[in-house]
């Protein structure tokens, strides 16, 4: 394990393709994420964002193309040992048979990186950071969706990753907690120069904290640009995605 080494890592995606049952989900994606960058991936539901994320962390094998972490294929043996990666799952993906504290400390305890007392201290600090002080002994089933998400974030923080993936980090969170999570992503990025890849629908989060934003539509990249460039981009899909809101005209609301 690579402990003292906290700097973020770069990731290159080249011509990534994936089909399920003959249906192309990812159609030759190519992009690069720099060391220490916050890179947001946005797009409508079903555009292939989560599938892309699963490929980036090595959970899925591409049909064609490659994903390189610091020049090494993410599928190569030992890459996960050399680079610390973590993922915040949309559903939390906490182990239901373990308590919150055990979940958050699982990486440290399973890899025997710290003594139990030290793990308990780190877990407690991570939970405090996401506003869940003293929740160590609760079971995941006792928590709300938002709380589970926050525990999942705490679990990722404990790993002190070099590459951190977030799948919809602010869904199911109230606006205040969403801002806190956004701040935490930013703070972690600044403190450890961790490379962060965020899949999100949350326009405010992406435009607020990302260095660059990729927009995916039907398995293809529409644009990769900075938040300012995105705001100025006249592409119709981008405009629709950025300006859609709940302000209906009176006729519609009275139907």
């Amino acid at each position: 394990m690579n402990h003292g080494h906290h700097r973020g890592v770069s990731i290159q995606v080249r011509n990534l393709q994936k089909s399920y049952h003959g249906q192309a989900i990812l159609k030759g994606l190519t992009f690069e994420v720099q060391r220490g960058e916050i890179f947001a991936i946005m797009g409508p539901s079903g555009s292939g964002k989560t599938v892309l994320l699963k490929h980036l962390i090595g959970l899925e094998t591409p049909d064609a193309g490659e994903i390189l972490v610091e020049g090494e294929s993410v599928q190569a043996p030992g890459v996960m040992d050399r680079y610390r990666m973590a993922m915040v799952f949309q559903s939390g993906a906490l182990l239901s048979s373990l308590s919150v504290g055990e979940n958050v400390g699982l990486y440290l305890s399973e890899h025997r990186l710290k003594p139990p007392a030290e793990i308990a201290r780190i877990v407690s600090a991570a939970l405090e950071l996401v506003g869940l002080n003293g929740a160590e002994d609760k079971m995941p089933a006792e928590l709300s969706g938002g709380m589970r998400k926050r525990v999942s974030i705490a679990r990722a923080l404990v790993i002190e990753p070099q590459l951190l993936f977030y799948d919809e980090p602010t869904s199911e969170l109230d606006p205040l907690m969403a801002v806190t999570v956004g701040e935490e992503i930013l703070r972690l990025n600044r403190r450890l120069q961790v490379t962060s890849i965020i899949v999100t629908h949350d326009r405010d989060l992406a435009l607020g904290i990302a260095h660059r934003i990729a927009l995916i539509h039907q398995g293809e990249i529409v644009s990769v640009s900075s938040p300012d460039e995105i705001r100025a981009n006249p592409h119709p899909l981008l405009r629709r995605f950025l300006t859609a809101d709940f302000r209906f005209d009176t006729e519609t609301t009275h139907l």
Partner: protein
């Protein structure tokens, strides 16, 4: 089917490769052992008591008519330790524990818990499969020993109290001692250890292969139980053929 068998063998190989890490999984292995014993011991004993009883009831009167009551203990004893205890206990455990394992791992797969383990560089074979396989391989032979003892007792009760047989406890157990030796018991224990590996592997494999939601979990559980029982019964024949060498 061949793909499934190939995947099972691959999972077995990966689990064997994980064996050096077994010491680190001791706590989880003991928890699983406790769960298996706690869930199954009483049921195994009740089942064995009645199997022994039925065996004596089916064979006893026929043997008594021919003046061969001296063989009842041997027949019940041998049938139980070489065949019925290992096979029936394996079927019971496939239904009781194999299904629970497939459901638990299946639900972990569906709800991305396995993905979460992988992203933390925790190998699911080390973390989930190894402790379960070790626990079931240690627990099933112990349950089979209990089943043999209780089954023999069931046979004895019927042999003594059924008016068509009506032999003494002493005569029954003398016959059993004459017919059954430690190699026969070992024969049953070897079978049960092999069956345990089959149940554990099939259940974990089906759990890890689960796709879809709750319906997918249900499908995995059914397949785990049915496939285990089919494999147990097929393997039983070949194991019996191989273990006949022990008797020579």
């Amino acid at each position: 089917m061949f793909q499934n068998i190939g995947e099972l063998l691959l999972l077995l190989w990966r689990t064997l490769q994980a064996l050096p890490a077994a010491k680190r999984q001791m706590r989880k292995t003991f928890e699983q052992c406790f769960e298996i014993g706690n869930a199954s011991l009483l049921m195994a004993c009740v089942l064995a008591l009645f199997i022994g009883g039925v065996l004596a009831l089916q064979t006893g009167p026929v043997l008594a008519q021919r003046g061969l009551t001296g063989f009842i203990g041997q027949i019940v004893g041998l049938s139980l330790c070489k065949e019925l205890a290992p096979v029936m206990m394996a079927v019971l455990i496939a239904g009781r524990i194999g299904s629970a394992m497939a459901a638990e791992i299946g639900s972990m797969t569906v709800y991305q818990e396995i993905d979460a383990l992988r992203t933390m560089n925790i190998n699911p074979v080390h973390y989930l499969v190894l402790p379960r396989l070790l626990a079931i391989t240690a627990s099933l032979p112990i349950l089979v020993v209990f089943a043999m003892l209780v089954g023999w007792l069931g046979g004895a009760l019927v042999s003594v109290y059924n008016y068509q047989i009506a032999i003494s406890f002493e005569a029954y157990f003398t016959s059993l001692r004459e017919g059954v030796d430690s190699l026969d018991v070992l024969n049953g224990l070897i079978k049960s250890a092999v069956f345990a590996v089959v149940i554990g592997l099939v259940a974990c494999h089906q759990g890890l292969q689960t796709i879809g939601g709750p319906r997918g979990i249900g499908r995995s559980v059914t397949k785990a139980v049915v496939n285990s029982i089919v494999l147990i019964l097929i393997l039983d024949y070949f194991l019996t053929r191989a273990l006949i060498q022990l008797d020579r």
